[in-house]
Amino acid sequence: MAGLIFWRKKREDKAQEVEPVVLETVVESVIEPAVEEPVVVTAVIEEPVIVREPVLVAEPILEAVQLPKRKFSGGIKSLFSRIKFDVENINDLEDVLIQADFGVDAAESIVAQIKSRAKTSGAKSEAELKQILTDLLTESFTRDDIALKLDSGVQPYVILVVGVNGAGKTTTIGKLANWLVQGGAKVTLGAADTFRAAAVEQLATWAARSNSEIVKPTTEGQEPASVAYEAVEKAIANGSDIAIIDTAGRLQNKQGLMDELAKIRRVIEKQTPISEVLLVLDATTGQNALSQAKAFAEAAQVTGIVLTKLDGTAKGGIVYAIQNQLNLPIKLVGVGEGIDDFAFFDAEEFAQGLVG
């Protein structure tokens, strides 16, 4: 399952020793399918040798850290508790999708696609139609970048967490930090939400629960960018694998506050590249989520979405539009209030859960 492994610099080894090992694995993995399909062999075998070699010398040696598995546990419920889904009622699907916040346009387009696929395949029964819908949703949510990108070897990996007020940023960070620490990673949190009353303390509570380090503002109302800078600085100094920076919630139409995010990005990147910028979206949010995603993507260069508060009702459909229009992957989902209640997004699981 995606996102279960992160890569960190091997702490003792030297570069030369591992080079052949890595090469070997590359070649090995290529040869395997080649046995079944001989046609491809020549073309593929050459490639890694020529292209990969120079890169590997410069790259740091990475070891894989296995993290505990995470699955949705009943986070999503079927769309079809309300209607019967068959050929006659196919138009009711539009209503159901609208009620799950897919939006009018997406709902119309999905229904149209299902109709045309059903026509082509001659599908009629409820099971067949559900399969078509499942496939369609799986296809549109499947992508190869849903894992957290923690593999560059440049440590600490910095994760910046952004979103509107009340979306669940701090809670998400707490859960994520806990999971990373359980997997053996050293984590430093940066409390750059210096605006909301007690936000720093809230993050500190999560830091204690998850055994993470935390960098707090040293003065009251300290510039958030400077807290972010200090957090990354400390993460580098204390040899952290991962630094997670919390930011204050902000509504996406407040230009000044959005500019502040750009600034936070800049000061962090003076020290080390940012690996992930996660936008936290409340799954109960309606069509405004699209406006949020657009604005945050622009200001903070979001790399992925965390969908929080999936509590067992069919909702969060707006992510379909977000993915289609903005090409942003959903990476994590929050499914409850406990420290372990989050999971990695899985297209198939999500689609099957919705269609039920």
């Binding site: 009620q99 009340g166 007690a198 303390e201 809230q202 405004n288």
Partner: protein
């Protein structure tokens, strides 16, 4: 992404203009657009369905078919119905006869309860009440702490015997709080409770227990204005589970259209009491149903605009102006009068934003420099009466004096004089063309469009000969130097058949 509702209706009505009367098919097309607009604003589907059915019924009735302008009539009906559901009049907090008044806050996680508690406390305190905040959210890490900080910053005491973070019994805290408030004679008790994730029976029961323990005068349901279709389920759950007396919409300073307001009002039948509009503790105001209706429809407040235009349009002055035009003695003083009339209508930007079809102009609206009117006025006010009557006497030294007097440059003065001359010439032509229309303000205004402002120059309206709009609002827009027609869409500006 999508045009707003008024833009879409413009499209729908484009084909109808010649017809005048609306057929049932026309009405259905219109209603489809309205349905879509409501859904895009996150009004819950079942609420939309009922709403559209009600509109259809009225739209098919006499009211519309007999109306002079049926399309406009539909829009008016939609607006009326929306305002009605949202609560025609404002609802106020009811205070207990025997203090303390107890106000309990309930809602989903992250809807903004704790922040709201702080704002509410401040608002009450400013009204001379002596509120106390009670920290019954013992669930979320540091919610108690947050409330304490908020209380401190608004100068309201906080009753918080438990530190929270998952320990302590909120029902006991609530009970003790009431006792404490009675003893110390606080007039209002504001109870902050733990947020719930979706519909959680255990926490709902806790909220119910707190309610039973405190017997609140108001149970305010706090809801995020960005919430989607789930708003109905959540509202129902809280109404059934705890029983609410009013609703507070939060985060209205965002750009969400806030259709949830309509869903919640419809489903619970409870009034929306307050709107929370920002992060500062003052950003808190009573709820205005009419404003919310316009926001949900993203329709531009055309009705208000028409009203305003009619109000500030002084008929007598207009007649006088017409005479002057005919006699060809339009002066800079008249020019200034016109501008002042325009100012009475309010900010040009706001006014234009209210125009249907203005969506297309929205980005350009930002280029309008409202100060331009002030500057022009300053220049004219720096002239002697003689100069105002007869700009021809303005020689170099007079212009320099005027520039100095008004804090502008000679170039500005020159450009104003030029624009005035052009305008006067044009109006003369218009007047002689025998169609002064309703003359009051518009004709002179192509001239005021902005000294040296490139953006405005391009948009100067050339009032069409014989085509003066009968709609004061539209004329005002023409007047403001922005032609809706110039957008390559002859339909806009005449939305709802206002032309």
């Amino acid at each position: 992404m999508f045009g707003n509702l008024s833009d879409r209706l413009v499209e729908t009505f484009k084909n109808l203009r010649s017809k005048g009367k609306l057929s049932a098919t026309d009405i259905d097309a219109t209603l489809r657009e309205i349905r879509r607009a409501l859904l895009e604003a996150d009004v819950a589907l079942e609420v939309v369905k009922n709403f559209i059915a009600a509109i259809r019924e009225r739209a098919l009735g006499d009211e519309v078919s007999k109306a002079l302008n049926p399309a406009q009539q539909i829009v008016q009906i939609v607006n009326e119905e929306l305002v009605q559901i949202l609560g025609g009049e404002q609802k106020r907090i009811s205070f207990a006869k025997n203090p303390p008044t107890v106000i309990m806050l309930a809602g989903l996680q992250g809807s903004g309860k704790t922040t709201l508690a702080g704002k509410l406390a401040k608002w009450l305190k400013d009204q001379g009440q002596t509120p106390i905040l009670v920290a019954c959210d013992l669930q979320r890490p540091n919610a108690v702490n947050q409330l304490q900080i908020l209380g401190e910053s608004v100068g309201v005491p906080v009753f918080a015997p438990e530190v929270g973070n998952g320990t302590g019994n909120p029902v006991t805290v609530a009970k003790d709080a009431i006792k404490h408030a009675k003893q110390k004679q606080f007039s209002v008790v504001i109870v902050d409770t733990a947020g719930r994730l979706g519909i959680d029976e255990e926490l709902m029961k806790q909220a119910k227990d707190i309610r039973d323990a405190t017997d609140p005068d108001e149970v305010l349901f706090v809801i995020d204005s960005m919430i989607g279709q789930d708003a109905v389920n959540v509202a129902k759950a809280f109404e059934d589970g705890v029983g609410i007396t009013g609703v507070v919409l939060t985060k209205l300073d965002g750009d969400a259209r806030g259709g949830a307001a309509l869903s919640v009002a419809q489903v619970t039948g409870k009034p929306i009491v307050f709107a929370s509009t920002g992060e500062s503790l003052d950003a808190f105001e009573p709820f205005y149903p009419d404003r919310m209706a316009s926001r949900i429809l993203d329709m531009g407040d055309i009705l208000t605009l028409i009203e305003q235009a009619q109000k500030s349009f002084d008929e007598e002055q207009a007649l006088e102006m017409a005479e002057k035009l005919a006699k060809d003695n339009f002066t800079l003083e008249d020019f200034m009068d016109q501008m002042q009339q325009l100012k009475k209508m309010g900010s040009i930007k706001n006014m234009l934003a209210m125009m249907p079809g203005a969506g297309k102009l929205r980005s350009q609206l930002d280029n309008i420099d409202e100060k331009e009117i002030d500057r022009t006025e300053a220049i004219i006010r720096s002239m002697t009466p003689k100069e105002r009557k007869d700009p021809k006497v303005l020689n170099g030294s007079r212009r320099l004096r005027i520039a100095k007097g008004s804090g502008m440059t000679v170039t500005d003065v020159n450009s104003l004089v030029n624009r005035f001359e052009q305008a006067a010439k044009m109006m003369k032509t218009m007047a002689k063309g025998g169609n002064p229309g309703l003359p009051g303000m518009p004709q002179g205004l192509p001239a005021f469009g902005g000294a040296g402002s490139q953006a405005n120059k391009n948009k100067k309206a050339k009032p069409k000969k014989g085509g003066k709009s009968g709609n004061p609002a539209k004329r005002a827009a023409e007047a403001a130097g922005i032609s809706l027609e110039s957008q390559g869409d002859s339909g806009s500006g005449s939305a709802f058949g206002l032309k």
